[in-house]
């Protein structure tokens, strides 16, 4: 039987025959044979070593067996090599096996890649602000997504209040956009629709009844695409009535009771990030320090200070100084100070041109806080007469820990909520 061509090409048989004695193979020749297989199969060093050791063991055992049975070493070697087959056919047999290994490795790689991509996607989805279970700083939301996000965050903070639970549900329902087509319908019919279509009980308060609004009162309202709450407000305004939300119900009462604190609605609005924006905005624009004097504090002696006017600018304190860091060294009389104050107050719009005749102490300005600015804005722009401290009503407003707490009529509180939301949007 002729030797396989692969061996002939590499000269293996002749050299092995020469060097093979006592069942020991020539390592160099066998490495050449393995090298050929490795190149055909494109094996790496580890695979080549593994297959080489296995084949070498087989070859040596076979040669030893043949020698033990009486064959000459060179004959034994030749026969063992012939039985082994040529490198090309051996490599072809192995190729399909290696293909299985490579295919399996590819499948694993793809599986891990897909799983990894899926997990990364899942992670990004879970930390995305809209989906975050653990929440994220409200300021970040506002910066990323604008004022609507902030307003949403406020509504969420309201919704999270256990005390406001039923009220909040009614508020959400009142935000629905609806169409009204009531033509001389009785108010009882309106109450029936509110209960049946929207799940809200409407109760007529005695003040409304006293104001001649009864279940039989005919109501007319025809409009499209209006918020349910706004439509109801519009409908009741024609009957000199309005409504509040109490215990998950809508209570209709007379507009004459608008200042009655018994009908007030308590609203808590998160304005923390809005306050930060106001402060930041004022720092950037220098409103609090660089504008002409707006706030003037006047006192006749230390410890007695009266606020004359206020605004966004500096503060002048006029009085008897304890330390003489004054423009003039002359001690002023009380009358001189009073005269200066009168002059200031009478010409408040022209504070830059004021000339003080007496010794004037210019004290460090006391800045108006963002909280005070916001409260002032609300009190001046919404239901101005309703506030207890600045108007003639009983409504109260304060900021505690970044939360605006308001006790006013529901409609006033709705306007305040809209104002805060609008400020958020505008100050982006």
């Amino acid at each position: 039987m002729p030797l396989p061509s692969a061996y002939e090409n590499n000269g293996v048989p002749s050299r092995i025959r020469r060097e093979f004695g006592e069942a020991r193979m020539n390592q160099d020749e066998f490495e050449t044979y393995l090298g050929l297989i490795s190149r055909l199969l494109r094996l790496n060093r580890s695979q080549r070593d593994s297959i080489g050791d296995e084949l070498r063991d087989h070859m040596e055992l076979r040669v030893a067996e043949l020698i033990n049975s009486g064959a000459e070493p060179h004959q034994a070697t030749r026969q063992a090599l012939e039985e082994f087959g040529d490198a090309a056919s051996f490599a072809k047999q192995f190729e399909s096996v290696l293909l299985v290994y490579r295919r399996r490795w590819m499948m694993r790689f793809m599986t891990f890649s897909i799983a990894g991509t899926f997990l990364v996607g899942l992670f990004i989805f879970s930390i995305w602000p809209d989906n975050a279970r653990f929440g994220s700083p409200s300021a970040s939301i506002a910066q990323d997504s604008g004022g609507d996000q902030e307003a949403k965050s406020q509504q969420q903070s309201l919704a999270s209040s256990a005390a406001d639970g039923p009220e909040n549900k009614v508020r959400n329902t009142l935000e629905k956009v609806v169409s009204f087509d009531f033509d001389d319908e009785s108010f009882a019919e309106i109450m029936k629709v509110m209960r049946g279509d929207y799940g809200i009980n409407v109760i007529l308060d005695h003040s409304a009844r006293d104001d001649s609004l009864s279940e039989d009162e005919p109501v007319t309202l025809q409009c499209e695409d209006i918020r349910l709450g706004a439509g109801l407000e519009l409908m009741l305004a024609g009957k000199n009535a309005t409504f509040m939300i109490r215990g998950g119900n809508i209570v209709v009462y007379s507009l004459d009771e608008l200042d009655n604190s018994n009908y007030f609605d308590r609203r808590i609005i998160n304005v923390r990030s809005l306050l930060e924006k106001i402060e930041k905005f004022e720092k950037l624009s220098g409103l609090n320090n660089k504008q002409p004097g707006i706030q003037i504090l006047v006192g006749s002696s230390a410890g007695h200070v009266k606020r004359v006017n206020r605004g966004g600018g500096g503060v002048f304190q006029i009085g008897v100084p304890k330390s003489p860091t004054t423009a003039q060294n002359n001690k002023p009389s009380q009358n001189q100070n009073d005269a200066a104050v009168k002059k200031l107050t009478s010409g408040a719009s022209d504070t830059n041109s004021i000339v003080l005749s007496g010794p004037v102490h210019v004290a460090p300005m006391k800045e108006i806080t963002a909280e005070q600015r916001l409260v002032d804005l609300v009190q001046q722009s919404i239901a101005a007469d309703s506030w207890a401290d600045t108007g003639s009503g009983n409504a109260t407003i304060m900021i505690v820990g970044g939360l605006l707490v308001v006790n006013n009529s529901r409609s006033a509180n709705d306007q305040i909520q809209d104002l805060v939301n609008g400020l958020h949007r505008m100050m982006q």
Partner: protein, 111 residues
């Protein structure tokens, strides 16, 4: 039955024969070749160039597993059958017997 089987006849049954040799104990390649040869009275001569790719293929299918051992002073690769290999062996043995019965009944002068 002194003649060697043709390749076509042996194709499809080599896996079964190798698994059968490994069913009782661990073996290395050369020993598997010898046992097959002895068990078949010299009619099945599995060349090394066919045996080792076959062993690696069975291992890639996890029907057999391998381990290296140097306790005898020589680095040697031992093969043993896996649980999946035993199942496959049982299944193929049953099929093989059914197949032989079918062919036996069909062939003239045997059935």
């Amino acid at each position: 039955m002194t003649d060697q089987f043709t390749k076509d006849l042996m194709r499809g049954s080599l896996d079964l024969m190798v698994l059968s040799v490994l069913a009782t104990e661990s073996q290395y390649g050369y020993l598997i070749q010898k046992k097959l040869n002895l068990a078949t009275g010299g009619t099945v001569k599995l060349p090394a160039g066919t045996l080792y790719p076959l062993l690696h293929r069975l291992e890639s299918k996890r029907l057999i597993r391998s381990r290296w051992d140097s306790s005898s002073g020589r680095r040697r690769k031992w093969y043993s059958i896996t649980a999946a290999g035993k199942k496959r062996l049982d299944k193929q043995t049953t099929q093989w017997k059914q197949y032989v019965d079918c062919v036996t009944q069909l062939l003239p002068g045997i059935g």
